[in-house]
Assembly symmetry: none
Homo-oligomer: 198 residues x 2
DNA sequence: TAACTATGAATGAAGG
DNA sequence: CCTTCATTCATAGTTA
Protein backbone atom coordinates (compact mmCIF):
# COMPACT_ATOMS: atom_id res chain seq x y z
CA UNK A 1 0.00 0.00 0.00
CA UNK A 2 1.83 2.96 1.16
CA UNK A 3 3.69 4.42 -1.66
CA UNK A 4 3.60 8.11 -1.27
CA UNK A 5 4.19 10.35 1.62
CA UNK A 6 1.17 10.73 3.74
CA UNK A 7 0.45 12.82 6.65
CA UNK A 8 -2.72 13.07 8.57
CA UNK A 9 -1.84 16.32 10.11
CA UNK A 10 -4.32 19.05 10.19
CA UNK A 11 -6.23 21.29 12.36
CA UNK A 12 -9.57 19.85 13.10
CA UNK A 13 -11.72 22.72 13.90
CA UNK A 14 -14.17 21.67 16.43
CA UNK A 15 -17.35 23.10 17.58
CA UNK A 16 -19.15 23.20 20.80
CA UNK A 17 -22.42 21.54 21.08
CA UNK A 18 -24.11 23.94 23.34
CA UNK A 19 -23.46 27.58 23.25
CA UNK A 20 -23.10 27.93 26.94
CA UNK A 21 -19.85 26.59 28.09
CA UNK A 22 -17.06 28.07 29.96
CA UNK A 23 -14.48 29.53 27.67
CA UNK A 24 -11.86 27.54 29.39
CA UNK A 25 -13.71 24.33 29.00
CA UNK A 26 -11.89 21.76 26.93
CA UNK A 27 -15.03 20.02 25.76
CA UNK A 28 -13.71 18.36 22.76
CA UNK A 29 -16.40 18.06 20.25
CA UNK A 30 -15.79 16.34 17.07
CA UNK A 31 -16.00 17.68 13.63
CA UNK A 32 -19.36 17.33 12.02
CA UNK A 33 -19.09 17.61 8.29
CA UNK A 34 -21.66 19.68 6.53
CA UNK A 35 -23.79 18.00 3.90
CA UNK A 36 -21.90 19.78 1.19
CA UNK A 37 -18.63 18.60 2.59
CA UNK A 38 -19.83 15.06 2.76
CA UNK A 39 -20.90 15.30 -0.79
CA UNK A 40 -17.52 16.43 -1.89
CA UNK A 41 -15.72 13.81 0.07
CA UNK A 42 -18.03 11.13 -1.11
CA UNK A 43 -17.58 12.18 -4.67
CA UNK A 44 -13.89 12.12 -4.46
CA UNK A 45 -13.91 8.78 -2.82
CA UNK A 46 -16.24 7.31 -5.35
CA UNK A 47 -14.26 8.74 -8.16
CA UNK A 48 -11.53 6.38 -7.20
CA UNK A 49 -9.35 8.44 -5.03
CA UNK A 50 -9.76 6.50 -1.87
CA UNK A 51 -6.46 7.34 -0.36
CA UNK A 52 -5.34 10.79 -1.30
CA UNK A 53 -1.72 11.65 -0.63
CA UNK A 54 -1.01 14.43 1.75
CA UNK A 55 -0.71 16.90 -1.00
CA UNK A 56 -4.22 16.26 -2.14
CA UNK A 57 -5.51 15.99 1.36
CA UNK A 58 -4.54 19.56 1.88
CA UNK A 59 -6.25 20.61 -1.29
CA UNK A 60 -9.36 18.78 -0.33
CA UNK A 61 -9.32 20.42 3.03
CA UNK A 62 -9.04 23.82 1.48
CA UNK A 63 -11.92 23.02 -0.70
CA UNK A 64 -14.03 21.79 2.15
CA UNK A 65 -13.20 24.81 4.15
CA UNK A 66 -15.45 26.80 1.95
CA UNK A 67 -18.34 25.12 3.61
CA UNK A 68 -17.17 25.02 7.13
CA UNK A 69 -14.22 24.70 9.39
CA UNK A 70 -12.21 21.60 8.84
CA UNK A 71 -8.66 20.47 9.27
CA UNK A 72 -6.35 18.22 7.36
CA UNK A 73 -6.64 15.67 10.06
CA UNK A 74 -10.37 15.54 9.67
CA UNK A 75 -10.00 14.85 6.03
CA UNK A 76 -7.42 12.25 6.66
CA UNK A 77 -9.55 10.53 9.23
CA UNK A 78 -12.53 10.68 6.99
CA UNK A 79 -10.81 8.85 4.22
CA UNK A 80 -9.29 6.37 6.53
CA UNK A 81 -12.58 5.55 8.15
CA UNK A 82 -14.38 5.50 4.87
CA UNK A 83 -11.90 3.10 3.43
CA UNK A 84 -11.89 0.93 6.46
CA UNK A 85 -15.61 0.73 6.80
CA UNK A 86 -16.15 0.20 3.17
CA UNK A 87 -13.83 -2.70 3.31
CA UNK A 88 -15.46 -4.11 6.35
CA UNK A 89 -18.89 -3.95 4.89
CA UNK A 90 -17.60 -5.65 1.86
CA UNK A 91 -16.15 -8.37 3.98
CA UNK A 92 -19.25 -8.87 5.98
CA UNK A 93 -21.34 -8.89 2.91
CA UNK A 94 -19.14 -11.55 1.51
CA UNK A 95 -19.33 -13.52 4.68
CA UNK A 96 -23.04 -13.34 4.90
CA UNK A 97 -23.35 -14.35 1.31
CA UNK A 98 -21.33 -17.39 1.93
CA UNK A 99 -23.19 -18.24 5.04
CA UNK A 100 -26.51 -17.75 3.41
CA UNK A 101 -26.45 -18.58 -0.28
CA UNK A 102 -30.11 -17.80 -0.74
CA UNK A 103 -29.43 -14.17 -0.29
CA UNK A 104 -29.82 -12.52 -3.62
CA UNK A 105 -26.59 -11.14 -4.93
CA UNK A 106 -26.46 -7.63 -6.15
CA UNK A 107 -28.70 -5.89 -3.79
CA UNK A 108 -28.95 -6.44 -0.14
CA UNK A 109 -32.38 -7.20 0.89
CA UNK A 110 -33.35 -7.36 4.45
CA UNK A 111 -35.99 -9.97 4.33
CA UNK A 112 -36.23 -11.68 7.59
CA UNK A 113 -32.54 -12.11 7.93
CA UNK A 114 -30.54 -9.84 10.07
CA UNK A 115 -28.19 -8.58 7.46
CA UNK A 116 -25.88 -5.73 7.49
CA UNK A 117 -26.95 -2.57 5.82
CA UNK A 118 -25.69 -1.71 2.45
CA UNK A 119 -22.92 0.50 1.42
CA UNK A 120 -23.71 3.72 3.08
CA UNK A 121 -27.27 4.83 3.26
CA UNK A 122 -25.82 8.20 3.89
CA UNK A 123 -27.77 11.32 3.74
CA UNK A 124 -28.61 12.39 7.11
CA UNK A 125 -30.84 14.83 5.46
CA UNK A 126 -30.20 17.10 8.27
CA UNK A 127 -31.44 20.57 8.44
CA UNK A 128 -28.76 23.17 8.66
CA UNK A 129 -30.02 25.85 6.42
CA UNK A 130 -31.63 23.12 4.50
CA UNK A 131 -30.88 23.76 0.96
CA UNK A 132 -30.79 20.67 -1.07
CA UNK A 133 -30.60 16.96 -1.37
CA UNK A 134 -32.17 14.41 0.81
CA UNK A 135 -30.38 11.37 -0.27
CA UNK A 136 -27.69 11.09 -2.76
CA UNK A 137 -28.79 12.19 -6.17
CA UNK A 138 -26.50 9.90 -8.01
CA UNK A 139 -28.42 10.21 -11.18
CA UNK A 140 -29.85 12.78 -13.44
CA UNK A 141 -27.28 15.06 -14.84
CA UNK A 142 -24.37 12.84 -15.27
CA UNK A 143 -21.88 13.34 -18.00
CA UNK A 144 -19.21 15.55 -16.70
CA UNK A 145 -19.82 18.03 -19.38
CA UNK A 146 -17.14 20.50 -18.77
CA UNK A 147 -13.61 19.61 -19.35
CA UNK A 148 -11.12 21.82 -17.71
CA UNK A 149 -12.72 22.34 -14.42
CA UNK A 150 -10.30 23.38 -11.90
CA UNK A 151 -10.90 24.66 -8.52
CA UNK A 152 -8.83 27.53 -7.67
CA UNK A 153 -9.80 27.42 -4.12
CA UNK A 154 -7.53 30.13 -3.05
CA UNK A 155 -10.47 32.37 -2.99
CA UNK A 156 -13.88 32.74 -4.49
CA UNK A 157 -14.88 29.89 -6.69
CA UNK A 158 -18.26 28.46 -6.13
CA UNK A 159 -18.90 26.66 -9.35
CA UNK A 160 -17.87 23.78 -7.30
CA UNK A 161 -21.44 22.76 -6.91
CA UNK A 162 -22.04 22.16 -10.53
CA UNK A 163 -19.27 19.72 -10.59
CA UNK A 164 -20.12 17.89 -7.49
CA UNK A 165 -23.40 16.74 -8.83
CA UNK A 166 -21.83 15.53 -11.97
CA UNK A 167 -21.28 11.89 -11.58
CA UNK A 168 -21.40 9.68 -8.67
CA UNK A 169 -20.93 6.05 -9.50
CA UNK A 170 -21.44 5.28 -5.91
CA UNK A 171 -19.50 2.40 -4.81
CA UNK A 172 -17.30 0.78 -7.29
CA UNK A 173 -19.19 -2.44 -7.43
CA UNK A 174 -16.35 -4.20 -9.08
CA UNK A 175 -14.43 -4.38 -5.91
CA UNK A 176 -11.31 -2.61 -6.88
CA UNK A 177 -8.02 -4.26 -6.28
CA UNK A 178 -7.35 -3.02 -2.85
CA UNK A 179 -3.79 -2.56 -1.90
CA UNK A 180 -2.57 -0.34 -4.66
CA UNK A 181 -5.40 1.92 -5.44
CA UNK A 182 -5.50 5.03 -7.48
CA UNK A 183 -7.40 4.41 -10.58
CA UNK A 184 -8.38 7.99 -10.17
CA UNK A 185 -10.27 9.35 -13.02
CA UNK A 186 -13.53 11.10 -12.73
CA UNK A 187 -14.00 14.08 -10.60
CA UNK A 188 -10.94 13.81 -8.54
CA UNK A 189 -8.95 14.40 -11.65
CA UNK A 190 -10.90 17.43 -12.44
CA UNK A 191 -10.43 18.79 -9.05
CA UNK A 192 -6.78 18.24 -8.88
CA UNK A 193 -5.66 18.84 -12.35
CA UNK A 194 -3.14 21.57 -12.41
CA UNK A 195 -4.09 24.83 -10.89
CA UNK A 196 -4.47 25.24 -7.20
CA UNK A 197 -0.86 24.80 -6.49
CA UNK A 198 0.56 28.23 -5.90
CA UNK B 1 10.10 -5.56 9.88
CA UNK B 2 13.48 -6.25 11.19
CA UNK B 3 14.57 -3.03 12.59
CA UNK B 4 18.05 -1.91 13.13
CA UNK B 5 19.08 -3.92 16.06
CA UNK B 6 15.83 -3.33 17.76
CA UNK B 7 13.81 -6.31 18.53
CA UNK B 8 10.18 -6.02 19.08
CA UNK B 9 9.69 -9.60 19.91
CA UNK B 10 8.25 -10.64 23.13
CA UNK B 11 5.20 -12.25 24.41
CA UNK B 12 2.38 -10.10 23.31
CA UNK B 13 -0.03 -11.38 25.79
CA UNK B 14 -3.40 -10.66 24.54
CA UNK B 15 -6.64 -10.16 26.18
CA UNK B 16 -10.00 -11.45 25.44
CA UNK B 17 -12.57 -8.84 25.65
CA UNK B 18 -15.70 -10.54 26.76
CA UNK B 19 -15.04 -13.95 25.50
CA UNK B 20 -18.27 -15.69 25.18
CA UNK B 21 -18.31 -17.71 22.08
CA UNK B 22 -16.85 -21.01 21.34
CA UNK B 23 -14.59 -22.34 23.96
CA UNK B 24 -11.96 -22.73 21.33
CA UNK B 25 -12.23 -19.25 20.02
CA UNK B 26 -9.02 -17.52 19.01
CA UNK B 27 -10.43 -14.02 19.29
CA UNK B 28 -7.28 -12.13 19.06
CA UNK B 29 -7.65 -8.96 20.96
CA UNK B 30 -5.06 -6.36 21.10
CA UNK B 31 -3.33 -5.30 24.19
CA UNK B 32 -5.18 -2.70 26.18
CA UNK B 33 -2.84 -1.00 28.57
CA UNK B 34 -4.14 -0.47 32.05
CA UNK B 35 -4.17 3.07 33.39
CA UNK B 36 -1.26 2.26 35.66
CA UNK B 37 0.69 0.91 32.75
CA UNK B 38 -0.01 3.96 30.73
CA UNK B 39 1.13 6.10 33.54
CA UNK B 40 4.38 4.28 33.79
CA UNK B 41 4.99 4.38 30.09
CA UNK B 42 4.08 7.99 29.89
CA UNK B 43 6.39 8.83 32.72
CA UNK B 44 9.28 7.08 31.18
CA UNK B 45 8.66 8.71 27.89
CA UNK B 46 8.37 12.13 29.39
CA UNK B 47 11.46 11.62 31.39
CA UNK B 48 13.34 11.60 28.17
CA UNK B 49 13.66 7.98 27.42
CA UNK B 50 11.70 7.97 24.25
CA UNK B 51 13.40 5.06 22.63
CA UNK B 52 14.53 2.54 25.16
CA UNK B 53 16.98 -0.08 24.00
CA UNK B 54 16.01 -3.69 24.12
CA UNK B 55 17.29 -4.32 27.58
CA UNK B 56 15.27 -1.51 29.00
CA UNK B 57 12.28 -2.51 27.04
CA UNK B 58 12.40 -5.83 28.77
CA UNK B 59 12.70 -4.18 32.12
CA UNK B 60 9.84 -1.94 31.41
CA UNK B 61 7.78 -4.86 30.36
CA UNK B 62 8.50 -6.65 33.57
CA UNK B 63 7.47 -3.64 35.46
CA UNK B 64 4.29 -3.28 33.54
CA UNK B 65 3.49 -6.90 33.98
CA UNK B 66 2.66 -6.21 37.55
CA UNK B 67 -0.44 -4.51 36.37
CA UNK B 68 -1.46 -6.77 33.61
CA UNK B 69 -0.30 -9.05 30.89
CA UNK B 70 1.98 -7.39 28.43
CA UNK B 71 4.76 -8.38 26.10
CA UNK B 72 7.97 -6.80 25.01
CA UNK B 73 6.48 -6.20 21.63
CA UNK B 74 3.69 -4.22 23.14
CA UNK B 75 6.14 -2.01 24.88
CA UNK B 76 8.17 -1.60 21.79
CA UNK B 77 5.19 -0.69 19.71
CA UNK B 78 3.98 1.66 22.34
CA UNK B 79 7.14 3.67 22.28
CA UNK B 80 7.33 3.65 18.58
CA UNK B 81 3.82 4.90 18.18
CA UNK B 82 4.20 7.38 20.93
CA UNK B 83 7.29 8.77 19.38
CA UNK B 84 5.80 8.94 15.96
CA UNK B 85 2.56 10.52 16.99
CA UNK B 86 4.14 12.92 19.32
CA UNK B 87 6.31 14.18 16.59
CA UNK B 88 3.46 14.45 14.20
CA UNK B 89 1.36 16.46 16.57
CA UNK B 90 4.11 18.81 17.30
CA UNK B 91 4.83 19.16 13.67
CA UNK B 92 1.33 20.00 12.72
CA UNK B 93 1.10 22.31 15.64
CA UNK B 94 3.85 24.29 14.06
CA UNK B 95 2.15 24.21 10.72
CA UNK B 96 -1.07 25.41 12.16
CA UNK B 97 0.57 28.20 14.01
CA UNK B 98 2.25 29.25 10.88
CA UNK B 99 -0.97 29.45 8.97
CA UNK B 100 -2.39 32.78 9.86
CA UNK B 101 -3.02 32.61 13.58
CA UNK B 102 -5.80 35.12 13.54
CA UNK B 103 -9.18 34.53 12.11
CA UNK B 104 -8.97 30.95 11.22
CA UNK B 105 -10.41 30.35 7.81
CA UNK B 106 -13.98 29.43 8.39
CA UNK B 107 -13.74 29.01 12.08
CA UNK B 108 -16.25 31.65 12.66
CA UNK B 109 -19.03 29.80 14.24
CA UNK B 110 -17.05 27.30 16.13
CA UNK B 111 -14.83 27.50 19.07
CA UNK B 112 -12.44 30.32 19.26
CA UNK B 113 -9.10 28.72 18.79
CA UNK B 114 -9.42 25.05 19.25
CA UNK B 115 -7.21 23.54 16.69
CA UNK B 116 -5.11 20.54 16.18
CA UNK B 117 -6.03 17.15 17.58
CA UNK B 118 -4.48 18.37 20.74
CA UNK B 119 -0.99 17.39 21.48
CA UNK B 120 -0.92 15.44 24.64
CA UNK B 121 -2.45 17.47 27.39
CA UNK B 122 1.11 17.73 28.43
CA UNK B 123 1.29 21.44 28.74
CA UNK B 124 -1.29 21.32 31.47
CA UNK B 125 1.21 21.83 34.17
CA UNK B 126 4.27 23.95 34.12
CA UNK B 127 5.33 23.60 30.54
CA UNK B 128 7.27 26.76 30.86
CA UNK B 129 10.71 25.40 31.17
CA UNK B 130 11.79 23.02 28.54
CA UNK B 131 10.58 19.85 30.02
CA UNK B 132 8.42 17.90 27.75
CA UNK B 133 9.71 18.15 24.28
CA UNK B 134 8.18 15.67 21.98
CA UNK B 135 10.42 16.28 19.11
CA UNK B 136 13.18 13.80 19.20
CA UNK B 137 14.98 15.00 22.27
CA UNK B 138 17.45 12.26 21.83
CA UNK B 139 18.23 9.88 19.11
CA UNK B 140 18.68 7.13 21.59
CA UNK B 141 18.25 3.73 20.11
CA UNK B 142 21.17 2.77 22.25
CA UNK B 143 22.29 5.94 23.77
CA UNK B 144 20.14 6.88 26.67
CA UNK B 145 20.63 4.83 29.74
CA UNK B 146 23.00 2.53 28.01
CA UNK B 147 24.44 1.37 31.22
CA UNK B 148 23.70 1.67 34.86
CA UNK B 149 19.99 1.71 34.88
CA UNK B 150 18.37 -1.05 36.64
CA UNK B 151 14.95 -1.87 37.70
CA UNK B 152 13.76 -2.13 41.13
CA UNK B 153 12.19 -5.46 41.29
CA UNK B 154 12.45 -8.75 39.61
CA UNK B 155 9.60 -10.30 41.39
CA UNK B 156 7.42 -9.47 44.33
CA UNK B 157 7.94 -5.91 45.26
CA UNK B 158 4.85 -3.84 45.48
CA UNK B 159 6.35 -0.61 46.61
CA UNK B 160 5.86 0.20 43.04
CA UNK B 161 2.33 1.00 43.85
CA UNK B 162 3.16 3.55 46.40
CA UNK B 163 5.56 5.09 44.06
CA UNK B 164 3.09 5.49 41.32
CA UNK B 165 0.42 6.92 43.44
CA UNK B 166 2.78 9.34 45.01
CA UNK B 167 3.99 10.50 41.71
CA UNK B 168 0.63 10.95 40.21
CA UNK B 169 -0.12 14.57 39.67
CA UNK B 170 -3.62 14.28 38.40
CA UNK B 171 -5.57 11.32 37.35
CA UNK B 172 -5.81 8.41 39.69
CA UNK B 173 -8.69 10.29 41.09
CA UNK B 174 -11.31 9.90 38.53
CA UNK B 175 -12.75 7.76 35.89
CA UNK B 176 -12.00 6.38 32.51
CA UNK B 177 -10.01 3.24 32.46
CA UNK B 178 -9.03 4.06 28.97
CA UNK B 179 -8.13 7.07 26.98
CA UNK B 180 -7.81 10.49 28.35
CA UNK B 181 -5.02 9.69 30.60
CA UNK B 182 -2.78 12.32 31.92
CA UNK B 183 0.91 12.35 31.49
CA UNK B 184 2.94 11.50 34.45
CA UNK B 185 5.93 13.53 35.24
CA UNK B 186 9.28 12.25 36.09
CA UNK B 187 8.94 8.98 37.72
CA UNK B 188 11.16 7.16 35.32
CA UNK B 189 14.14 8.35 37.27
CA UNK B 190 12.95 6.61 40.32
CA UNK B 191 12.27 3.51 38.42
CA UNK B 192 15.60 3.30 36.81
CA UNK B 193 17.86 4.46 39.52
CA UNK B 194 17.46 1.85 42.14
CA UNK B 195 20.90 0.85 41.06
CA UNK B 196 21.75 -2.67 41.85
CA UNK B 197 23.44 -3.48 38.68
CA UNK B 198 23.68 -7.19 38.23
C1' DT C 1 -35.67 10.36 28.68
C1' DA C 2 -32.96 6.51 27.57
C1' DA C 3 -31.36 3.11 23.77
C1' DC C 4 -29.44 2.97 19.20
C1' DT C 5 -26.83 4.11 15.14
C1' DA C 6 -23.52 6.38 12.30
C1' DT C 7 -19.17 8.04 12.33
C1' DG C 8 -15.15 11.09 14.02
C1' DA C 9 -11.03 10.24 16.59
C1' DA C 10 -7.47 7.46 18.94
C1' DT C 11 -4.30 3.86 19.13
C1' DG C 12 -2.29 -1.02 18.95
C1' DA C 13 -0.12 -3.59 15.41
C1' DA C 14 2.18 -4.27 11.13
C1' DG C 15 4.36 -3.55 6.53
C1' DG C 16 7.99 -1.27 4.11
C1' DC D 1 11.29 6.42 10.58
C1' DC D 2 6.96 6.43 7.74
C1' DT D 3 2.29 4.95 6.36
C1' DT D 4 -1.59 2.00 6.60
C1' DC D 5 -5.03 -1.25 8.64
C1' DA D 6 -8.01 -3.10 12.26
C1' DT D 7 -10.25 -2.16 16.56
C1' DT D 8 -12.03 0.36 19.75
C1' DC D 9 -13.69 4.52 22.22
C1' DA D 10 -16.63 8.55 22.24
C1' DT D 11 -20.24 11.25 20.78
C1' DA D 12 -23.45 13.94 17.45
C1' DG D 13 -27.94 12.76 15.80
C1' DT D 14 -31.79 10.02 15.54
C1' DT D 15 -35.42 7.13 17.12
C1' DA D 16 -38.71 4.82 20.17
Amino acid sequence: MGDHGQDRNGSPTLHRSTAHRSETEPVRTRWTPKPEQILILESIFNSGMVNPPKEDTVRIRKLLEKFGAVGDANVFYWFQNRRSRSRRRQRQLQASLMADPRAAPGVTQQAGGRVVPHERPTSSSSSSTSSNNSTFPCSSSASSSASSYNFVMDDGSDDLFSMISSQTPFMCSSHVPRSHYQPGQCMAKLIFTKASLP
